[in-house]
């Protein structure tokens, strides 16, 4: 095949190197990121499923409809039922405790494992055993603190309702234990089949039911259609919980990491696209003579087009296949760096990343290379005789538009994120527009004022003006590359900064809640003895909502929303807590709470914004509360958004000081307990069994590992993208090199010194780089502002260093590259340089 032969010869002649490597890089970057993103996403879903103990959960306030179970059995979907409730437990005649009980079917958990132990307060991993089932009928697995509370030991029998059960194991952790503050009693896990005999669930009992479902091995399709069917069956009592919701804090870090990967990948593609466009432009220029010869030999335009399209396709296939392989290799390398952060094996990727990578290669060629070569078949055969008879290439506007369209399609298709695509496109458009507009003015100024400087400057600046078209194309390339690299570096730095608190060694990792007023001093002393610092103590009272907008919530509404049928934590403070921000209304100050604005008994309350909407309330509406049998009304004066990532106590309902202090209250705090002081938890629970300790140290450690590994992954990605940037620089530098070398060789023949020739190149390239860096700072600042605001939810900030590092870095990098590239003109004899062109 002639096209193949021609392609091989062009490759050997060194004309395809830059095009091929640009293509390769585009495909490799996309493939590696897509593979990594997909595998991590799949792992995350698996991981989250483990946190949910299932693939999907329906939470309901009424028992599960038996038809759901029947249908699941028919469709081969695995199920488990769970009921959570509070019930009094008794040991002997004296000791009793209101425990938080979960009854589970034998199939529980469908995903993940339950951790149990035979040693109370076990901390040693060797004492802890992970099992994939719950207790057998007649047995209970209990929280360690139930033992001192009921004054019992393992193997003893306790009563729950009408039934007697053996306490067979200590319950360390269930996969879906979560960190709900609502259940204060010691946890107990029992078998579902014991429920009827115990008689604990009576009509009117407050029970939360959960229906867990998971796919059987290889029956994912069946599971998906069951899930679709199930969604249609849900009514007001039921709520679907997906794996995404199960693990919000880790998911948020991972999601930002994933978004950064996508951003870096997208920037890589755009950079590789620019390099490809420049390299293709260069390649097309070198094909003009060949095509003119072809035409003079009688080869028709259509045949020429066919030959070049065949070559592009071959190049595309070869580049994409090699790019896929390199991408796979690079993703393996990235995985080896970040392997530790997921304890489970990463699931294999599907076909999508491969398709994405391959399609990127072909699309890049269609969008960047084809337009650059489009005019070749129209080359006049007369060009073999007359140099001025060259074919007119597609207008720069047309090629630019096609390139921009390709980039837009790639960005959107690839990231699926409109904001990110728009930010990058706009940032790049501003940079490119400024490069052409402002660049032209700068070049003109340079030429006008260059004659006041030395001969090198005069010559260099007038050269730039004389070659203004290629100079501007180069400037777009340089500034685009610099801007994109700056965008990536700034976003990476902001993300790492934002995550730094999670990496902080002393971030709170335990919550102490339900500390009674009489226990407070004792608990404080215990904490202080270990020289540990708390995040401050918060007081709270437990209350229920009785009225909304002066009306009792309907029975349906009560069952529909959790906050309407359970006790809530109400707290008070004068200052807006850290991490909270007011969304609607105003935070109270000394005047507004002095009693002037609220009639007696009507307390101001600030609500978490999502809860306000869920309860169908608005600013100014009233809510009736009942605390310990006493009732009072409150008016919503503000709504707040909360930072759930912060490891400090957050409250849905906040009151000003002076309204709740008289009600029976408990206290809570969060604090950092280092691993060596971990036994404090046991001492605390032995001495104060009613205190509940929520241990987040393992989760925090996991977040910390994830963050540091993700950060390292991002660093590697950053390096790869920097490689793309350098490639663009090379492509842009080589664009005018033939003409420059020719001129330099002629100057050399005329006796110009090495200093003059290299000096001129240095000034030309440094000036280009300097201008490009300055314009890049403008585009980058704009794009970063958009990205921070819309994609990463980071606050806006100026980056003065961009305006210094951009021009300086650009000038230096481009200057060095240019001089290194054009050194050939002074180290080789001029004739050899001329002959080689």
């Amino acid at each position: 095949m002639l096209a193949f032969k021609m392609l091989l010869r062009s490759w050997r002649g060194g004309q395809l190197g830059l095009m091929f490597s640009s293509l390769l890089l585009a495909v490799a970057v996309v493939t590696s990121v897509a593979l990594l993103a997909e595998r991590v996403e799949r792992a995350l879903v698996n991981e989250s499923s483990a946190f949910l103990a299932a693939d999907l959960v329906v939470s309901s306030s009424v028992p599960i409809d038996p038809t759901w179970l029947e249908r699941a059995r028919e469709m081969g979907v695995r199920t488990a039922q769970k009921a959570s409730f509070s019930s009094m437990t008794f040991a002997g005649d004296q000791d009793m405790h209101l425990a938080s009980i979960k009854a589970v079917e034998s199939s529980y958990p469908l995903r993940g494992a339950v951790k149990r132990s035979s040693v109370p307060f076990a901390t040693d991993e060797l004492d802890i055993e992970a099992v994939e089932s719950g207790p057998l009928p007649g047995q209970l697995w209990v929280d360690s603190r139930l033992l001192p509370l009921l004054n019992i030991k393992l193997g003893d029998t306790i009563d729950v309702g009408d039934g007697s059960f053996e306490v067979s194991h200590i319950l360390i952790e269930e996969p879906d234990s979560g960190s709900s503050f609502s259940a204060f009693g010691a946890r107990i896990l029992m078998n579902w089949s014991d429920l009827p005999a115990s008689g604990v669930i009576q009509p009117g009992s407050r029970v939360s039911y959960r229906f867990l479902i998971a796919s059987s091995e290889g029956r994912e399709d069946s599971f998906n259609s069951y899930a679709d069917w199930l969604r249609e069956q849900l009514d007001i009592h039921d709520r679907l919980i997906t794996p995404d919701e199960a693990q919000a804090s880790i998911a948020s870090t991972m999601d930002k990491g994933r978004r950064f990967l996508l951003l870096a990948g997208s920037i890589g593609v755009v950079l590789a696209g620019i390099a490809l466009a420049l390299a293709s432009h260069h390649f097309a220029n070198r094909q003009l003579l060949q095509v003119a010869l072809f035409k003079s030999w009688g080869i028709s335009a259509s045949r020429v087009r066919k030959l070049y399209i065949q070559q592009i396709l071959l190049l595309g296939i070869a580049g994409s296949v090699v790019g896929l392989l390199i991408g796979w290799g690079f993703h393996q390398l990235l995985i080896s760096v970040v392997r530790d952060w997921l304890p489970i094996t990463l699931p294999a990727a599907g076909s999508r990343p491969w398709i994405t990578g391959f399609a990127t290669g072909i699309l890049c060629l269609l969008g960047f290379t084809l337009p650059a070569l489009w005019h070749l078949p129209t080359q006049s055969p007369l060009a073999v005789l007359r140099r001025d008879s060259q074919a007119q290439s597609l207008s720069s506007l047309m090629r630019g538009s096609l390139g921009v369209l390709t980039v837009a399609v790639l960005l959107y298709w690839y990231s699926g994120n409109l904001y990110m695509s728009m930010a990058i496109m706009l940032g790049f458009a501003i940079t490119a527009g400024a490069s052409i507009g402002v660049g032209l003015v700068l070049l003109r100024l340079g030429k006008s004022y260059g004659h006041w400087m030395g001969s090198i400057w005069r010559l260099a600046l007038s050269n730039l003006w004389r070659r203004k078209k290629p100079s501007l194309i180069q400037m777009v390339g340089f500034s685009g590359a610099i801007a994109l690299l700056m965008i990536m570096l700034v976003v990476r730095t902001s993300l790492v900064d934002e995550w730094r608190w999670q990496l902080a060694d002393n971030a709170p990792n335990h919550f102490l809640i339900n500390v009674a007023a009489y226990e407070l001093d004792g608990v404080k002393t215990l904490v202080e003895q270990r020289e540990l610092e708390t995040a401050g103590w918060y007081s709270m009272v437990r209350g229920r909502i009785t009225h909304l907008k002066n009306q009792m919530p309907s029975a349906v509404a009560q069952q529909g929303h959790e906050s309407l049928h359970r006790e809530l934590n109400l707290s008070w403070t004068s200052a807006l807590p850290e991490g909270n921000s007011i969304v609607q209304g105003a935070w109270w100050d000394a005047d507004s709470v002095a009693g002037n604005n609220f009639s007696e008994g009507l307390a101001p309350v600030s609500l978490e914004e999502d809860l306000l909407h869920e309860l169908g309330l608005a600013l100014g509406d009233t809510i009736g509360f009942s605390v310990g049998g006493l009732t009072f009304d409150a008016v919503v004066t503000s709504t707040r958004s909360l930072n759930w990532d912060s490891m400090t106590p957050n409250f849905y309902f906040l009151f000003p000081e002076g309204y709740l202090e008289d009600y029976p209250r408990t206290h809570m705090t969060s604090l950092y307990i280092p691993a060596v002081e971990k036994l404090l938890v046991n001492d605390l629970l032995r001495s104060y069994p009613t205190v509940q300790v929520i241990e987040l140290d393992k989760i925090i450690d996991r977040i910390r590992t994830i963050v540091s590994q993700v950060t390292r992954g991002l660093e590697m990605m950053t390096l790869m993208i920097l490689g793309c940037g350098i490639l663009v620089m090379f492509a842009a530098v080589s664009l005018s090199m033939r003409e420059r070398l020719q001129e330099s060789a002629i100057l050399r023949t005329l006796g110009s010194t090495r200093r003059l020739i290299l000096g001129v190149q240095w000034v030309e390239f440094t000036t280009l780089g300097l201008m490009a860096g300055l314009l890049a700072a403008l585009g980058a600042e704009f794009a970063v502002a958009m990205l921070q605001r819309f994609m990463f939810s980071l606050p806006f900030s100026w980056h003065p260093w961009l305006w210094i590092a951009g021009p300086l870095g650009g000038g230096l990098l481009v200057g060095v590259l240019g001089v290194v590239y054009s050194r050939r003109a002074v180290v080789q004899p001029p004739l050899r340089v001329l002959n080689s062109l």
Partner: protein, 225 residues
């Protein structure tokens, strides 16, 4: 073989209309050789381009083998050129990325001729370059490059060869050798030769010549000495 009637060529420049060729008439029979001579800027290369169908006259017509190529579109002219026409240029126009052998083989490959490489090798042997088959143009001297170009032109066995100042870039000695080779191959292959030159010695070796002065035919098909 080639019949040109009343060929004129005008171009519009910023300074107004410019007559490059005016009312040129000529006829070249099969196997003849014609030299187009004249000073620089007299329109020699433009005439060559029009005769070869690379360019279009403003008025007049050109027929090759009885086919009026001036009434055809570019695709039609390309079809006439294919297989009929060969070229030799002043600046050789070898493709820098291809070896001598590949440069010669390329037009044969484009025509779909079997054994393109074998034929190319034979022609390079005939121009005395069998030792330099794998050399790239930059590794060859000017004379050698033009010999490769001659091999490339004749390898397609064109019925008409157009040569534009074939020795214009070469020193006298080398130029003479190239001329000898050109005429030798021309004779052996029985090709019709139309060449542009301002060298009288080269023009003298052609069977006829046509002299141009400022686009006008001043000596009509004068018999050569």
């Amino acid at each position: 073989m080639i019949e040109a009637s009343n060929i004129s060529k005008q171009v519009v420049t910023s300074e107004g209309r410019l007559d490059i060729l005016e009312e040129i008439n000529l006829s070249v029979a099969k196997g003849e050789s014609l030299a187009i001579i004249g000073p620089s800027g007299s329109g020699k290369s433009t005439l060559l381009g029009i005769l070869a169908g690379l360019d279009m006259p403003t008025s007049g017509s050109v027929a090759i083998d009885g086919k009026d190529i001036t009434s055809m579109d570019e695709e039609g002219r390309a079809a006439v050129r294919a297989g009929h026409v060969g070229f030799v240029f002043q600046s050789f126009h070898l493709l820098p990325g291809l070896t001598a052998l590949e440069n010669v083989a390329l037009p044969l490959e484009l025509q779909g001729i079997d054994n393109a490489l074998q034929t190319a090798r034979e022609f390079l042997q005939r121009v005395g370059l069998v030792e330099r088959l794998g050399h790239y143009p930059r590794q060859l001297s000017g004379g050698e490059q033009q010999r490769v170009a001659l091999a490339r032109a004749f390898a397609c066995r064109p019925s008409i060869l157009f040569a534009d100042e074939p020795t214009g870039n070469l020193d006298t000695g080398t130029g003479k050798k190239i001329n000898d080779l050109l005429f030798e191959l021309n004779q052996e292959e029985g090709t019709t030769l139309i060449l542009v030159t301002h060298e009288n010695s080269l023009a003298a070796r052609c069977s006829r010549r046509l002299e141009l002065q400022a686009g006008r035919q001043v000596e009509t098909l004068a018999e050569s000495a």
